[in-house]
């Protein structure tokens, strides 16, 4: 253990953030990493619990007490090794994970958890500092199996699956529909939360480990099965939940993801949008983000950076309490009001709001306001409070209400995959779908979720695919 009395000596620190006024002027990351001494002090707060609840809190099973101790001892290289032993992309999770580990940290009983996410991010930074010559040195499989595997989709699940399978000695090809690799990591997450350079270095490591990448590919089911020994679908759950209310078709009502992707392309340096897409810009507009989740927050941050006239955010559910309620005890995820960094930058938040209609301006085509009403929960469903209607002026409404599952068209249909009631691809524990040699990992089978879960799924399914191929191999030679 780091320091038995560390948690008594050192106060919980918070990672530094650039001042809101400064950061909304650019798209650079808003987090400033703490100096090493401070980080070591923070790591010393870890109590090396007999039951590390953080460790269960982490879907990846990161062995948090171990790397906290190593960071405290200044053994960064070992920390890099230990962290990578459970997590392929700590540089990602260290930035964008909501950190269920910290929520379940024993010190969070008193609301002062160890800054695990900061520690993780710093370890990842250490790995990246030395790059491919050090912490990211390619892990080469000692033996190549000669098996061909296609991984469809290069989001976190796809990349994790691909990396694990390549390291097991398989020939992996990642097929990406977009023009760049990374899926949601690339186009879904704003740069102010995660600059994209890290993705390129990670992908360089994967290439060195034997992964091939093809971008702009519209994979066809038959081709895949013909060309590869196994196919792993990691296409995400990309169908956004729509809001079928009057006025939905108006100009100025957009899906959040469309808005975010465009800005990410701009930051990436694309001069023009592909396929002649019309730009969605918040600049000078009264922006209303519908949906209180992370995507909504990203829209808030992006809108502020685009200098919107105003930004507000609506949430259907009631405002959560400021502190844990007794029926929501530690170590469960605290259902409390959180304010994201984007919300801090300027945003009106309203809760218990039901969107009843989008109302056009005089032109009849352009969105001018939202007709809303108060919502209340009764008998398990949300109902409108009678007589509570009100208007919200709005030029741009961004729908950030989550996703409803895998895209039904394309591969799902071509391969004839079974879907569950929620629209997710059905798999067994090893990731196998209803179609032989076809596996699925990440949101496509889990439904919309966190990046840690995507990586965890990727690792699990890669193991399943590997076992499947090895068994079939044995059969072939036996």
């Amino acid at each position: 253990m780091a320091d038995p009395r560390g948690f008594l000596k050192v106060k919980r620190g918070k990672s530094q953030e650039r001042p809101a006024a400064e950061r909304v002027a650019d798209y650079a990351e808003f987090v400033v990493e703490p100096p090493e001494a401070e980080l070591r002090a923070q790591a010393s707060r870890c109590m090396d619990c007999g039951i590390p609840f953080c460790h269960q809190g982490c879907p990846l099973g990161n062995v948090i007490p171990e790397f906290n101790d190593l960071v405290y001892r200044g053994r960064m290289a070992d920390a890099v090794r230990v962290l990578h032993s459970t997590n392929n992309f700590p540089e990602v999770t260290g930035r964008i994970c909501p950190a269920p580990c910290e929520a379940s940290c024993v010190l969070n009983i008193d609301n002062v958890p160890v800054t695990i996410k900061d520690v993780e991010r710093t370890i990842a930074r250490a790995a990246f500092d030395d790059g491919l010559g050090g912490g990211l040195a390619p892990v080469l499989a000692p033996v190549r199996t000669g098996k061909n595997i296609a991984v469809v989709g290069s989001g976190p699940a796809g990349l994790a699956t691909a990396q694990q399978l390549a390291r097991a000695g398989h020939d992996v090809t990642v097929l990406e529909r977009d023009d760049r690799l990374g899926g949601l990591l690339r186009y879904g997450i704003p740069d102010f939360k995660m600059e994209k350079g890290i993705l390129d270095l990670r992908i360089a490591q994967m290439r060195a480990e034997g992964c091939s990448f093809e971008v702009g590919v519209d994979a066809q089911g038959k081709d895949l099965l013909a060309r590869f020994d196994a196919v792993v679908l990691c296409m995400g759950a990309r169908i956004p939940r729509d809001l079928p209310v009057p006025g939905r078709e108006l100009e100025g009502v957009c899906f959040a993801m469309d808005f975010l992707v465009q800005q990410n392309r701009r930051v990436a340096g694309d001069a023009a949008l592909p396929n002649g897409e019309a730009p969605i810009l918040a600049t000078g507009k009264h922006v209303v983000v519908i949906g209180g989740g992370d995507t909504g927050s990203d829209c808030v941050g992006t809108s502020n950076r685009q200098r919107a006239a105003s930004v507000s955010q609506l949430e259907l559910m009631a405002k959560p309490p400021l502190v844990r309620m007794p029926e929501n005890p530690w170590p469960s995820w605290p259902l409390v009001l959180r304010t994201s960094s984007s919300q801090e930058e300027g945003c009106e938040r309203d809760f218990s709001v039901m969107t009843k209609a989008f109302v056009a301006d005089a032109s009849g085509k352009r969105l001018a306001k939202i007709l809303a009403a108060r919502a209340e929960l009764s008998g398990g469903t949300v109902r409108e409070v009678p007589g509570s209607e009100f208007d919200i002026p709005c030029d741009l409404a961004l729908l950030a209400m989550g996703f409803t599952g895998a895209e039904r068209k394309g591969l799902v249909a071509e391969l004839g995959l079974a879907l569950d009631a929620r629209g997710n691809v059905v798999t067994d524990a090893a990731g196998a779908t209803s179609v032989p040699r076809v596996f699925a990992a990440g949101d496509v089978s889990r439904g919309q979720s966190l990046v840690v879960w995507a990586i965890a799924d990727g690792r699990r399914v890669a193991a399943g695919v590997d076992a499947h191929l090895r068994t079939s191999n044995l059969r072939a030679t036996g």
């Binding site: 038995p4 009395r5 948690f7 008594l8 109590m47 090396d48 619990c49 007999g50 039951i51 590390p52 609840f53 460790h55 269960q56 809190g57 099973g61 062995v63 007490p65 171990e66 101790d69 001892r73 200044g74 053994r75 070992d78 090794r81 230990v82 990578h84 032993s85 379940s104 024993v106 010190l107 009983i109 008193d110 040195a137 892990v139 499989a141 000692p142 033996v143 390291r167 007794p326 029926e327 005890p329 530690w330 170590p331 469960s332």
Partner: protein, 1537 residues
Amino acid sequence: MPLPGPVGLYDPQNEHDACGLGFVVDLKGGPSHRIVDMGLEILRRLAHRGAAGSDPSTGDGAGILVQIPHRYYERVLYHEGKELPLAGDYGVAQCFLSRDDIKRELQMKTLTDIVRYHNQKVIGWRDVPVDIRVVGPVARASMPVMKQLFIARMSDSHAFERTLFMIRKRAGKMCSAKGYGEDFYLPSLSSKTVVYKGLMLPEKLTDFYRDLQADDFQSRLALVHSRFSTNTFPTWERAHPYRRIAHNGEINTLRGNQNWMRARESLLASKLFEEHLPDFKPIIRPDGSDSASLDNVVDFLVAGGRSLPHVMMMLVPEAWATQADMPEHKRAFYEYHASLVEPWDGPAALVFTDGDVIGATLDRNGLRPAKYVVTKSGLVVMSSELGVLTFPPEDILEKGRLAPGKMFLVDVNQRRIVSDDEIKREVATRKPYGEWVAQNKIELAHLPDVPALFSLDREERARLWRAFGYTREDMSVLLAPMAMNGEEPTGSMGTDIALAVLSDRPVTLYRYFKQQFAQVTNPPIDPIREDLVMSLVSCVGGEGNLLEETPGQCRLLELPHPILTNGDLAKLLRSTGDFRAATLPAHFAAAGDPAEALTSALEDLQARASRAVDEGNSILVVSDRGVTAHHVPIPSLLAVAAVHHHLIREGKRVRVGLVAESGDAREVADVALLIGFGAGAVNPYLAFESITEIVQEQPPAAADKPAVDLATATKNYIYALKKGLLKVMSKMGISTIASYHGAQIFEAIGISKAVVDAYFTGTSSPLGGIGIAEIASEARQRHAEGFAPADPNRDLDVGGVYAWRATGERHLWTPSSIASLQKAVRLNDAKSYAEYASLVNDQAERPVTLRGLLDLVPAGAPVPLAEVEEARTIVHRFATGAMSFGSISKEAHENLAVAMNRIGGRSNTGEGGEDEARYLVDSRGDVRRSAIKQVASGRFGVTAHYLVNADELQIKMAQGAKPGEGGQLPGHKVDAVIARVRHSTQGVTLISPPPHHDIYSIEDLAQLIFDLKNVNPRARISVKLVSETGVGTVAAGVAKAHADVILIAGHDGGTGASPLSSIQHAGTSWELGLAEAQQVLLLNDLRSRVTLQVDGQLKTGRDVAFAALFGAEEFGFATAPLVASGCIMMRKCHLNTCPVGIATQDPLLRARFTGTPEHVVNYMFYVAEELRGIMAALGFRTVQEMVGRIECVTRREEIKHPKARSLDFARMLKTPKAGAVLHRTIEQDHGVAHVADRTLIECARPALERGERVTIGFGITNAHRTFGAMLAGEVARRFGAEGLPESCIDIEVTGTAGQSFGAFATNGMSISLEGDANDYVGKGLSGGILSVRPPASSSFVAADNVIVGNTVLYGATSGRAFFAGRAGERFGVRNSGASAVVEGTGDHGCEYMTGGVVLVLGPTGRNFGAGMSGGLAYVLDEDNAFTSRCNLGMVGVEALDSEDEARVRLLIEEHVTRTRSVRGMDLLARWSDVRARFKKVIPTEYKRVLEAQRLAALAAASAGSGGVAGAPAAAAAAVPAARPSETARHLKLVKGR
């Protein structure tokens, strides 16, 4: 006569004895009947040390050994028409024969045939007249026919005894061979002595054997013994005395001694025995008790030509290795004999005789009492207690006690006492042992240095780590603290992981074995504070013929300890000449059928071992070096044990030493197992390699933490291993590694009988388990890990044994189970409880506990839930575990107490005393008093007042987390409140000794139970044991010792800090222990007398259901109620950093405690409701109906876990007796109805009722035990801790007092005794004043004689005591506040003392002040050598300052006033001459604390805070005895100055 064979979990191997013994011999007169009578009188007076089973008239056995009563035999045989030759020219065979007429005829014929075969003459048979009416029905049922055979000497008189020995041996052998040996037994066959013994109460012996009543039945000596067997089936032949010895104590190393003796048999040769030698084998009869086995060996070696004292010295040597002042010749004798035979180790008072000499000797630790009196009229009486024979005071020449390791010998023919010095010099100088040793023995250090043979690079190391199953925890939790700090790794909160046999991981073979430990029948040792008796010196090499004495027999390699570094091993392998070492590779094939591959590799290994012995190698190195992709290492333990037992079977074992070169051994438990199963030395090479890595990876050096270099780290690691080994040995009461070597003090959980029989012969394995195939597969799995393709990101396996890890070992306490339990009790949410219960209970897929593999079977039709006993009565059967205030916070402790009091259950103080404020109802109407008051070895805060405020008094013999170990509360945890409650000083470390120093055996436990029952007759007395094989036998003994409740604790419980090696590797599951206890109690018809309670990780109603069905009536919970109170299993209790305010004394952290009594109450009710549901389903309406219904438990039909499938529960689920009462129905008779104290209380009525002064006179004998304690309890009950004014009840006593004289005497009681007293005087003294002085008419020099026994003032908290004479061992042990004056002490004076003052006006023994952390001692150091006898580990010795001098003088003055001490008067008269000869012993930490207090007080005073506030602090600083009453006088003095 024969014992029943194994039934269920009962195994006759687990029998123990303990007892009272003595002898009397006449130095002046001729043979007389008076001596025989005196012997019988001793027996009667020791009756309380023996025991009776369920049939009170049977007793455990008694006997007497006398010289052949020639006149008597001559007369009675003459009447039968037979003529005897002269005395000495004939032998008498005392025979126990078959009750079957035909068999008996055959037995008799065999015996007479053999007499003739050995060319002696049969004179004739005689029926021994007996009165069978005096023996109980149980004994009568097994009574043999007693006859005597008289044999005339026809050969050389010198050889006659030996011939008789040979006849006896051959007779036994022949009868067995012919199938009627079972009920053939010769208690004695000698021309000098005869033994009369049997299964009866000691006082009945005379009535039974009419011979003993005859006036002309005469002897000059009588040796007697009265038995208290912890065993369950006392038998006629197991009564003592045996042929040569009688024994009080226990041989802990028995199994090893038996194995080694058997191994030596093949090398035996003697001209004396010639062709008859085979008749004697096995030397040790396999079914004998420890005492019988020792007697077998003594008997054999004496017959082989050594003198009886010589044999006793070689088998039970005193501690010699560490005794700097031992004469050279004696040390040489012991060193030489150490190469011949390992010590028979354990607590032992042995009396022995061959008819020519009679003597006694004590084990090196002096753990059994032996006292003697010599009279002017020429009688010498030796016995367990003083006062067994009464002599006029003026006739007494000398009174003394036998010191540890010493011998007391009477030469009957020369009519004199031979001193220990003289006899040992005589024996030790018979041969030039010193020269022999010097010329032959070789020390490792003397072998030439060579470089280590191997060195590994990092990659190889990593591969081997995986191949040998190393985990990251092994590195960080086990090895790092050992290497960096030389510390043994410590943990908390017990263990909740899957048993090795239930684990899904390839568990190392070591983890299938559990260490055994001493409880009740013998004491564990304190290897730190009593290291003078411990030794790790090992000899490696080949032995010779035990019957010879030649220089070459000590040609052995001597190792200072059994751990070899890689360099040491290289040296050994390169050595030549006599020490040729051969390496035996221990690998098996990586492919092919696993069982076949491993079996054939083992056969091959064994064959090579035999060859290597034949080729003249004297050291065999069993090595798993050289692991390759195709060579899988055989688990070292298996390889070593296989070679060891193979060589024993081949008769080659003692010709070689075994060394384990082991990659898998890393922690203490591993090394202990290797040694226990035969390795003489261990080279844990991969652990050493790991240390290299740990050293490289240590954090950068800091000012306060300099970097550790490899040499230091290696030394540290070895030091930690050594320390751990000493602890493992001492846990069983074994002092030397030589005795531990091969002693197999382990049991296996989950190893099949086939594997045990083949490789671990003789080891208990109650459940069977995995076979060689599974062992091989697990080894292969690890090996495959090692040779799997490398992945640089893959770290070592996480382990997850000591802390939960998602991919690690399975635990029952997980984030989910804790979260759901806490949610359930906080929100009163039954659904969450159900979730919790199913997480714990549902082990179908992933078993963790034995009960997880079991299912419930309905007893009948289900009953409606409404008809089942209500939860509110069920919870009366619930208790919380013993957690001391000190180990957990005040808030947490009181929370449990309030909760349990609210529901009518019981909470437990733990061992830290209890604040008196808690005896009163608090402002909320709650009582914070714990119903159960624990009495543990430290006796912290155990006062009369504490004891009377209890409903139950629990004697903690062992605790699950660390059975057989003591504890330590570091000074920084002892704050003001804890110090007050524990009667100690703030900031001063408190040590709990491993043993109760008043319980070294079962009869001592009976004594403590009696003591406690006297103080508080209303409380029931409970004895806490820990589950291990044999615990049932111990429980039977405890039931016979009159405990009301027996608590069987599982190995896995425990909330305090313990060494990890103890948490993980000692003891077994409660299911096994409870089942065994229930079975053995039933078999003995003792079950109905005791309540059985169980604890150890009970978590749910289903757990309770199983516990009840296994036989428990009451149920204890510790961890779960803590979790309900907010514990989250940090397992950091030992660091004082508990973040939820439970296991901490830090006020900031305590403030975080959020538990409430409701949480605990809710938990208890949830458990009870869950139980009710189960009861309804099974068809039980009450818990009572359910207790012991073992037929309702069955093995789960479908067990998916492959290893678990191999377990066999048949023995555990056995119903031993149909139709018996399965729970308690009758009260114990504690024998306190008519004790002397009833009279005292009657006489003291004016004082008790009106506070008037009374004076009471009383005559006393050694049968008056625990004198004064019941009165003390009465005073405490009426007047609280304050008691009565000084000397309000004044008691004058004359005679020899029994044990525990003046125990717990309170303020206001003063007891003065004219005479002497036995052990435990002033135990727990609580403010009273005791004085003991010799009778006015006695003429001996009081200061030279022993006046009080061992362990005086144990756990005294306040009061004063004055003894005009010497005391035995451990005077003032754990004294925390009394002042005492004595005129000399034995060994270990003032051990573990934490307060008070002891003044010694005479000589002291060794090891004075060991573990003394507080208080003061003053010693008159006349030979100016006291410092060398003082243990300076914790104390300093200095000169007296003027304050000290005044205090000493004052004490002497009071001593003289109270005892008329001549010694005291003399010293006062010569005060100016003698004052400078006093030395002061003061603990260093205590001194520092006192100094700090003094400075603080001064500062406070000068700061103007006023003299009022400053004064108490200054007084406390000046006078260490913190209790006001007895220090008042000293205070006055200090103030006056």
